[in-house]
Symmetry: D2
Subunit: 426 residues, 4 copies
């Protein structure tokens, strides 16, 4: 057990931070102004930034080392602190080709795609030429319970025909979005977890109807957006199916582990920067004759922020380490824990920073309000908090409730949590 | 960075757990019954347990490795998970000679004691022959601000004469308590942090008056107790002074780092066991036609407990690691953080476990109510939460508030927190 | 709608307050010392205080006006602020014959007792000659769900024979406790809510075995205590049954409304006094060069306490008013609300006051720690929070969920809450 | 003391509710679509709705009865439940000419305006012909501390010349906004609370520069908006000054009492409707095989919402009653309490409703996200929470800290709070 970043990671942190300071932070105001004035257009400097990032070797950093030469070779634990730094500017991850949902989609294609699928979609994605979306959530049902999904994927000769109604399809509004990965049911009568399949749908397939961009707290999140999409008799070749019929649930599970590490580290980045903004602000303002930084209530809030951020960071790093060392299945409780902890932690920290800034805090002159909307939305995305608590609670009760107390001292300790025993040490 | 315990630590955990299961848990009910019926008497099996612990090599585990042959050689990080296990039974630490305040007193004597002081007091303490107390808190002032302390230590010829009024002197009621380390002022006119000194006072010195055992929530915590003590013209030889006049504050600071690790890990032990009891209970009871374990609200509480415990554990382990690698000064913010986080976390977790047990939860048939009283008291001991938040808030604002934003990405990350830069890697 | 106490109530408040100041507060320290030194003995001045209270017309104030000449004629709304004042000293209610569980027992006897039952038990209780207990909770089951109760009351000729195991029978340890009202099942096969009956059991009946006094957080709460009691073939005449077989649940429901008003107002009294102690304390202590009262964090805590207390007080008074005007059934949601709100509110406020007092706060030199134990225990007594939230949540969902939104503007407004329509004004 | 609405108020509630159901709720979707597509334009049906409201006698209901024939004659307590109902649709208050900041501005003009000022501005405002704004907050300072205000109002011959920089001037973007009431300093050297004055500035005065509409969480709140405004050598006749030089602070204080009642009741309306939406939703969705309404965690959230809403409602009604009976000064602590309690309560309740709706909750298909932005912003408007807690804490400590404990039983009870004694009953 050791709690310091390795020298290599420290180098990577410095390198990425220098890039952010030189190329990204200085463009923040311009980005805000541009996207507000020009919805659904790509920020003009973006392509240049991507080229710079590639040149600097800061490209596709998220892609797990197991994908050999496609991957720059970072472990989840090594990538995590870099995701934190990217998260400090909400639109920065794309510069490094590290933004959701493309990252998850690329992982899926790298892991489960046929060579044709990889040639057609993975390579352009890895190169940043195109973008993609993931069509999972449905307006009509509680789709975090995958058995509720109503979208149908039906075999018809050499094709599959898809009918369904999706929304909150992040990234689908982007002008470069060319590919959807769609979750639907191939066999609604099958066993609970083998009803679902995933299939590749080119964005320009007939029958795809983008109903509208959705707003989160009034914000459309241009240029990526969150789309409501109707799929009516959308026909694609049978070869577009991923992995096989009935394996959609299995793919979804494998996809979510690292993706949650990324989301959580980005959220930690927003929280960390919010704390820094808060600290700056309270040194600049005076009320009732004293600098805000000297009020004990302000200091308590700062102290709480710091404790909460550091705890969430350690938890997320430990989940990344678990995935690296023991695999996603062994890490499932830890991954649930970070999904429960980090979005709410970020909401709390950001909210305190907003409050200390007064009207400036909710305005678009600072990133705080956007951060809040992002963090609040993540409490719902990829399964709401309640789903994760329900399952983590069940796993935990099952692990301890059946133990002869106190036969086990502390199975929750790093290294051997309940539910993680099925897989031995490597 | 690596989040699994080393094989050696895993062995130690197994060894200590086996001892607890064989020798300690089976005696819990007997201990409760005995101490209630026989206040201020030592639990008869205690001496035998101590001999067994010595024989098993589970003795003085807390003593940092830097004390050479006195120490069994564990780092703070290696000792921490053992303190967690001991914490599961509130009276167990003494079996391993690892209980507060003796541990802190032994550290002080090992670090600052003269050879005479060590011979007279450290050796019998290390051997478990005697016990000791630490007389710091005063009823008349906010003594967590050391400049408020009113106890006087005045030189008079070859002696020091001590006058003061102390309370919450933990352990001073124990029949084997032979030594007090007393904090007082030798020079109230000196600079803020060099007014204080510490001095050794044998318990049987004339002028020592144990006024009464104090109650915390109605419990006297026999046989150690928390004493109110008046010191009236208590005269001890000048050689009893520790380290030198004006160095009391310095000693106090050095004493508190590892001590807080211990307290926090023990609290994590109480929280962990409370969670396990909670999980067991909800599998055994039924209300409104369903097993409690199936209620989503119960599962949420279990999930929250698990998230909170694991985060506090990682934070505390990281603080231990920081002390080991960079020293107490470099770890001061992390040590403040665990002192802020762990007692409140434990109170929350224990409280949820109490609630799930109904009347049984507050009774003395389970350790939960005692746990709560202990955890709640630690929110006040060694400085109330507010003092730590005040200082951590100040340090954090100072570190970030003066930074050109965003010149620093994340100085709070493990490895380089604010306030910890004055000291390089070792 | 009007939010000021009537002149009559203001007079009563002044009268009771004057009594407390003259006769009760001055004895607090003596009471604490006596009960600690003399467990299970009655505080010697108690009988004199009761005589004084009778003479002052401050006797049986709780007894609802509908009991005619037995009652001093106060409505629940008029009695509530007096219960708050009595609650400021935990042992004070008995002085005015207004303490639980005697109050509930007297109400039950007044409402449902036969003239024989009233002569034998109600009159001596109303006169303060004897005390009583209510035997409901059982160690083996979740007895807040009355269908879980296992105690049997079986008819045998002219008698009933009772077998069961009860605990947390408050008041049963008091030397003057002569009567138990026992809840048990006469017909376990009947419909869910008519299985239970209540029966009068004289404390000296053969087969009654007081196993032990229970401790709440280590405190026995002498001289009333909380008893664990075994009932083995306890035989009483059939005439001891209250109201009739199968009506135990009905009696329990009627009993609980006013009783919860009393508990909640007493808790508000403890919270209010805790806030006053907190305000006093922070004006007396200095840390880091400033009076505690000037720290913004302290002021925030004081402000929060005041907001929380006042809200809970208004809610409880509104519940009392609803009972008075529309009956217990119409007030059931409001009564659930105060049971959910007040104990937790009191715990929070008392806890803040403890924290501001440091070690003094948890000690027995102030009433704060006792207050906390009382308030914490009430979160479990008469049904844990969770039971009330479960039912209130169900009622609320049922009321709104089936409404054509927004057909009703605000059915929760005072005057017409959901679930309260079945009963018109009386 | 009496907790039911009077028959007259119940009639008014029914009348207004019927109007909302017939004319307002059916237009909600159309309003959302129109304002998104047509920023800074007035919703076409608005003028017709206003005529209907006038015809229905639902006009200027907020104006306190003391303004004689200008007022429809409702007390604050009578108006409060109507404000709650209007608050259920964020844009509804304007229909009844009851929206901020016009209400506060009209009160100021009615109370302090000269007959010329009333003729020119009050009458058109009361008639709904024009709208107005209140220019108080400044970007450069913590303007909730009025002594920090930097805007200058300088006498120059028969005119005043105004220079300053304001923002968050709600309503100033509205095409019909014709009048600003500007807070600035006439004498920065005067005593703390007589430096400020208020002055009437017609919106078309040269030197007025509307810099931009501000966004709160990305929303511009069209058509009223929140403007950033620069005032450069803005010259108005001396007769535009309100009440007299140095009386700005005094006017501000008088303005804020009823205004806070309105804001808080509207927030309670948003919370109440959020709870109703939540209850509906959980009856319509199923996850893991059960209807959401049957999950105990959902029921707990519903129960908590109901408790929190009802407490906040009673507190706000009691503050309105206090203003009516004893005046604003006597009600100042209660007014601080509702400002502390209600916005946070609303945020909490709305947030729970959002969570239960999943993606729909943050979208613009429901009013929840808008509600949240409104409630969150009110935590900052009219002084952030912290300012109110600071002052309420000080008042409370001062009231209790100096009392001989326990000389006063419960001065916080309705009828006689601390700080409210200086003023007798009226």
């Amino acid at each position: 057990m050791h709690f310091a970043y390795t020298p290599t990671t420290q180098d990577n942190i410095r390198h990425l931070t220098a890039f952010m300071e030189e190329h990204v932070y200085p463009l923040e105001a311009e980005y805000r102004a541009f996207t507000q004035a020009n919805p659904w257009q790509v920020f003009p400097p973006m392509e240049g930034l991507k080229e710079r990032a590639k040149a600097a070797g800061l490209w596709n950093l998220f892609l797990p080392e197991e994908y050999g030469e496609l991957s720059p070779g970072l472990t989840n634990l090594e990538y995590a602190p870099l995701a934190e730094i990217m998260g400090r500017v909400l639109w920065a991850s794309e510069i490094f080709n590290c933004n959701a949902p493309d990252t998850g989609n690329m992982e899926v294609l790298a892991k489960y795609g046929t060579s044709d699928q990889q040639r057609d979609w993975l390579l352009p994605l890895l190169d940043g030429q195109i973008r993609s979306a993931f069509l999972m959530t449905e307006p009509a049902v509680a789709s975090s319970d995958a058995t509720n999904i109503t979208t149908r994927i039906e075999r018809d000769g050499d094709d599959y025909v898809i009918n369904g109604h999706k929304w909150w399809s992040t990234g689908a509004m982007h002008p470069d979005c060319k590919l959807y990965i769609v979750m639907g049911k191939t066999d609604p009568e099958a066993q609970r977890h083998v009803q679902q399949s995933m299939i590749l749908v080119p964005a320009d397939t007939p029958g795809v109807d983008i109903v509208r961009p959705l707003q989160a707290f009034g914000t459309v999140d241009s240029p990526h957006g969150h789309a409501e999409i109707k799929l009516t008799d959308v026909r694609v070749p049978a070869g577009n199916l991923l992995l096989g019929e009935g394996r959609g649930f299995e793919i979804a599970q494998g996809r979510l582990g690292p993706g949650r590490i990324h989301h959580c580290m980005r959220l930690i980045g927003t929280a960390q920067r919010s704390l820094e903004l808060l600290c700056k602000r309270v040194g600049e303002r005076t009320a009732f004759g004293r600098e805000l930084s000297k009020f004990s209530s302000i200091r308590q809030e700062v102290a709480r922020c710091r404790c909460e951020i550091e705890q969430a960071r350690l938890l997320t790093l430990s989940a990344a380490d678990r995935i690296d060392r023991q695999g996603i299945k062994a890490a499932k409780d830890l991954v649930a824990m970070i999904k429960i902890v980090c979005p709410t932690m970020a909401c709390t920290v950001i909210d305190r920073a907003i409050q200390a800034h007064g009207g400036l805090g909710v305005s678009s002159d600072l990133p705080l309000a956007e951060y809040y909307v992002y963090a609040r939305s993540i409490r719902l995305a990829d399964g709401p908090d309640e789903v994760h608590m329900y399952q983590l609670g069940r796993n935990t009760i099952s692990a301890y409730g059946s133990l002869r107390e106190p036969a086990e001292t502390s199975p929750l300790s790093p290294g051997e949590g309940p539910g993680e025993r099925q897989k031995g040490n490597e």
